[in-house]
């Protein structure tokens, strides 16, 4: 089972991308998409050493909607900061201690940090315990780190790693 279908989530995802790319739901394309979704994970198994498991799909959906909302807000925040006086900005670096361990969860967290208000993930420490975050305008990096941990890291941990 694991050899024939190493990534059960990647297969439908790739099939979905294939259908979107062709803008169609013809049976032939569904079949071709599923075939590609089955073959590509097998051929690229070396790049995906971890098996991905989604434990709580509802938490993931809620996370995505929170993220989309935050992205829209981030755009307004950053636009305001850019149009305001750039000399008044207080950029800061902060160290974010990571509780996550799986590769996918860490990369999703780093992506979310970059997409959300005024923060940018800059570097993952070599021992994978810290993520260095750059904030565009932040007077209290401690509070920012606490917010990120509560708002983004906890749901990701629930979804991809069993608590």
């Amino acid at each position: 089972m694991t050899r024939l279908l190493p990534h059960p989530i990647l297969t439908p995802a790739l099939a979905g991308v294939w259908l979107l790319m062709n803008s169609t739901i013809e049976p032939g394309h569904i079949l071709l998409g599923l075939l590609l979704g089955w073959m590509i994970p097998i051929l690229t198994i070396r790049f995906w050493p971890e098996t991905v498991r989604i434990h709580k799909p509802w938490v993931l959906l809620r996370y995505i909607s929170v993220l989309l909302f935050d992205i829209v807000m981030a755009n307004f925040t950053v636009a305001r900061l850019i149009l305001g006086n750039p000399d008044r900005l207080k950029p800061a670096f902060a160290r974010l201690p990571l509780d996550l361990t799986s590769d996918l969860a860490i990369s999703l967290l780093a992506n979310s940090i970059t997409l959300t208000p005024g923060t940018l993930s800059a570097k993952l420490s070599e021992d994978r315990k810290f993520l260095i975050v750059h904030a565009l305008n932040e007077t209290d990096p401690e509070a920012m780190v606490a917010t990120i941990k509560k708002r983004y890291e906890r749901p990701l941990k629930e979804v991809f790693e069993t608590c």
Binding site: L20, V78, P91, F93, R95, N111, L120, S121, A122, I132
Partner: protein, 154 residues
């Protein structure tokens, strides 16, 4: 009515994309400049793509959803490229308005440098499979020197 809505979306998109690029000019150091293109442009390109979906879907030639894929790939690739740029900048110690992050305590740094030197000598040794025992000694001597030099630099 639909035309006005589409024009509104396209204008919003254009304004946000413009603000994103304006950030490159107005902001003062490399790290803050990274913020403009990664954020302000996502909403800009997003609303342009939504306008495109609606426009091509209402022309009667079927639903057009390629644009969703563009959004997906943009959300994946923009943070990754920003992360790589920031990492490279930190590696090169580029000037920053913010205080540079402290990565590790000094003792750990010495250990890390020593480990690196050892790993390198290991590599050299495995390369020279002819078993030159003499090559081990100069490598060991260089270990404390190197770590001292690196500490002095920092």
């Amino acid at each position: 009515m639909l035309d006005y809505f589409l024009s509104f979306l396209i204008l919003t998109g254009a304004i946000f994309t413009f603000i994103g690029s304006l950030g490159l000019v107005r902001l003062k150091d490399f790290y803050t400049r990274l913020h403009g293109p990664t954020k302000a442009t996502t909403l800009g390109v997003g609303s342009l793509l939504i306008a495109s979906v609606i426009f091509f879907s209402t022309r009667g030639t079927g639903v057009s959803l390629h644009e969703l894929l563009i959004t997906l790939f943009l959300f994946i690739t923009a943070p990754v490229s920003a992360h790589m740029l920031a990492k490279a900048a930190l590696h090169l110690n580029l000037d920053s308005l913010a205080k540079m992050p402290v990565e590790k305590a000094p003792e750990e740094k010495v250990k890390k440098v020593k480990k690196e030197v050892e790993e390198k000598t290991d590599e050299i040794q495995t390369d020279e499979k002819a078993a030159h025992v003499s090559s081990e000694e100069p490598a060991k001597e260089s270990t404390p020197q190197n770590s001292n030099e690196k500490l002095a630099d920092s």
